[in-house]
Amino acid sequence: MTTQRRRVVITGLGPICTFGIGIKPMWEGMVAGASGIRPIESYDASAFDCPLAAQLAADDFDVRKLVPKTYRKATKVMARDIALAVGGAAMAVEDAGLVTRATDPDGEPTIPPSRTGCHIGAGLIAADVNELSLAVSTSVDEDGEFDLSKWGDSGMGNLTPLWLLKYLPNMLACHVTIIHDCQGPSNTITCAEASSGLSIGESMRVISRGHADVCLSGGAECKLDPMGVLRQQFAGRLATVRDGDDPTRVVRPFMEDAGGSVLGEGGGILVLEALESARSRGVAPIAEIAGFGASQAACPDTVGLVYADDDRSVQAAITCALASADCSPEDIDAILPLGSGIPVRDAIDRRAIQDVFGDRASELPLITCVPNIGLCGAGSGALATALAAECLRRQMLPARIGEEGAETPGLDAGPIEARSAELRSILVFTTSMGGQNTALVLRRFDEEEVDG
Amino acid sequence: MSEDQAGNDRRGCRSTFLIGAILACLLLVTGFVLTLFQPDGHLPPSASDPVVVDRSNIFEQEFASACSRVREDESPWAIRLREEDLNAWLWVRLPAWVAHLGGTDAYGTTPMFQARVEPGRVVITTDTVAIAFRSELVDGDLRIMPATGSSMGRLPVPSRMVELLMGSIELPTIGDVLLPGGDGATYGLEDGELVVPARHRLGDDRVVELLEVQIDEGEVVLVMRTLPPPSG
């Protein structure tokens, strides 16, 4: 069965970042030009090049408070990444005004469970280092090295039977679908920073092909554990922080002295909905996802830390998103790129913007959020999309932070206060370590235009 | 008088002979003509009819499935072979199997068999002959022997003649065909009877044993049981 493509709108936002849970604290933090980057608190990270991260304050986020009482026990088998997704979903569902099994176990769900899908991007979740090390600490030989034989015989018994289920990437979607009873198509995309964007793209396809009317869509990740930080340092993506550096000025996207990124924990779940579904239940869409594009770079280093100088895959994804939104570069009023502050990645962003937008590249306001909320891995795209949607709803651009007078040659990306702006369409694009690129065109939702 | 009588007698004799000869000729001609007809009821299905093709496939699948099914114990189970299914199989799958087993040349002009299932006997017809069979289970063998009702064309043939004929007919080893992987089953002709072992070994060494054959109007019912692999 083929039908005309169904239009897909955003009806709920559930970002979680260093500023707190939900869109309100995130928006306030972004408008104020705040930054949540500070030294990592859960362990002494001072031996890493970058001991900083954008963390959620413990008071701000307790996943137990965001799940139904009957589900609290299950929070014990949630890695941090899972908890972030579960929290984000709770906020998104509330924001969209949906009744689900979680909000009212006895109520009639707004959308039938079989028509509700779920697509959540996830990263490689590292085992809790303390839990694993404790279990392993008895399986050592005389030299103090790991003894596989003791481990197999008795050591592994120290791990809880459900240990593996804390770390499977699809457990984000698993918990969210159980909590909210989403029985439609569900998927877990694991493409680093591109994961959320690809998840949103997949939700759009699923809604469009008629297999669901609503999808909880986005991604979440927390790489702040030692293993996560180590891997990012190995990949050469983190800023080297020296004593006395101002944590809130370490990430400097598109600036000439940019020196790397800082990790954040976070993510977001959005409620994506077929336009006719939103209409029939009488809710005003926050924004329309008008276009989507994805592509893959073939990288000279194979693993996608760098892209080739002549790579045009990001441009292709953007062009494809513009085409599917039926608009041209002139229709875009602001851009939210990855903006990681990693020089080689910023160069990719810059090249793509300049290629696609030509002379307008230097005038189009960029929205940057990594200096504020850190680089949130698989959650990056969802946070960016939530932020862009809120910009459209409020017709306002958030502040950009950085040293006063910092230059961002050829791009409008330097520090600036929050300001009102006429925004019709925003381009959100994300490149990833690994070479996957996504681009989304978000459009202010205009009811008259549809009716007319 | 006596001449007359003798003449009459000769004439009578001659006419009797003539009548006899004519009758014999008529019989022969009739018989010959009868052999030219297809045996009664020989109306084979078309092997290119998709319905027949599918029926044969389903029949084979169901038969193989029933024989290979893993069963709780050794209690008997039965499978019903309907005439139309048997025929579809004979027409579509048998030539395919014969070809598969490397018999393409020998059976390039395979006569198309058709089965007619009547109470107590199965009549196999080709476009020229009809041979009736009945079966008996004797000492762990299924013995298939001619029954009354065979004919050449439509000319009835005594079953004794069929026994002689059977020496020259080589029936494909249907058991092997349907249950590939089995071994140890030796087929043979003994005293004009086809002898088929009633036990067939499956690929995983289980044994399917035929316990009873019931031949009714339009269907054959096989009663079987599945035995575990011989220990060891």
């Binding site: 090295e145 699809n170 877990t188 995309i189 | -």
Partner: protein, 440 residues
Amino acid sequence: MSESPRVVLTGIGWVTPLGCDIDSVWKKLVSGASGMAPITRFDARTFPTSFAAEVKDYDVAEYLRDPSLHQHAGLNSQFALGAASQAWRRAGLDRFEQLDRSRVGLYLGAGEGVLDTENYMRANLRGWDPEARCIDGVRWAENALECMHAQKEIEQEPNMPLAHLAREFEVNGPAYNCLTACAASTQAIGEAFDIIRRGEADVMISGGAHTMIHPLGVTGFNRLTALSTHKGDPAEASRPFDRTRDGFVMGEGSGIVVIESLEHAAARGATPLAEIIGYGSSCDAFRITDIQPDGRGAAAAMEMALDQAGIDPGRLAENGRPPIDYISAHGTGTQENDSIETRAVRRVFGDLAPSIPMSSIKSMMGHLIAAAGAVELITCVMAIQQGELPPTRNLHHPDPELDLDYVPNESRKAPVDTCLSNNFGFGGQNDTLIVTRFKG
């Protein structure tokens, strides 16, 4: 209303515990061979499960244009490269010079890479502070930075097989990796199918690659009691649908398919091996450890796929045959999966269910986790091409609850036009694909 393009399979390739090329592995499958043996990748003698189905004698370099591009590739990426190269060549894309590489996408259901267990554990043990009962961050980091390898760590990211394939085949279309446990590669191929139907790409390289045969992988599944702990011949450990089944056996490897729009295949003169006509995906939304006992989720995926394929599961096809000729079962060999899968098939096909042969090749090559679905879909393509159904090995004890035709122990010649392939993942994802003989 515009007609969605038809989508055909033009290339298949696999790297499996039974071998690394299509034909020889197929022969082993229909002869009921087993790929199980004691684990050789690490000393697993004291583990509750000490056997697995490992890929043997595999050298990725044989498949590559320039092996140096992939010198640090993890085992999962190596498997993916070998399988994809076979598929790419089988599809004739290596000889097709006019290929528009921006219209060639990737959708894998590849697993994460293999942990560097030795060095990881070293860092953990040296960083461990027994008094505080937690790690000392500084000591951990110093040791980890010293003993662990950057490339090995980067290669563990689950999107690395994508990066390797993109590099090898120089393709730039949309690229995704999904990881929905054991359903991943079925879901990947299903979504790739949808991407082509929507015209977002002409060709997709899709499938999966995975290995979890490493100490913490085996540990994780042993703790979940999902693995067979059979004592005796490992070849008899994986016993799907048998009453004595006691868990799955880990396999590893990769299955990759090249799928493309019929129009694209026809224009370049490629021969379709089969056509994909249905894809369904659902989620149990039940419990993190259990499957919906009534098989509702699995049934929903099958029904969605059948609906898309225009097949009515409750009625014989027009030709009088069952609506599906063969079901490639998920059939892991755990008590729960096999019962519920049987229930789900009954739920969908009703009284016709027992007439549809359904087997599990996991009885022979183990469970390839994320890669299982793609390998099993390729098995369906081969069944269509060869007219033969692979058996379920080690099925000797009937389970009174399980009453379908599981093609026990020996393969069966049968006409096969349409196959349905099921995969269900830990976490509740259910995915179904339907392929059929290509008819112009």
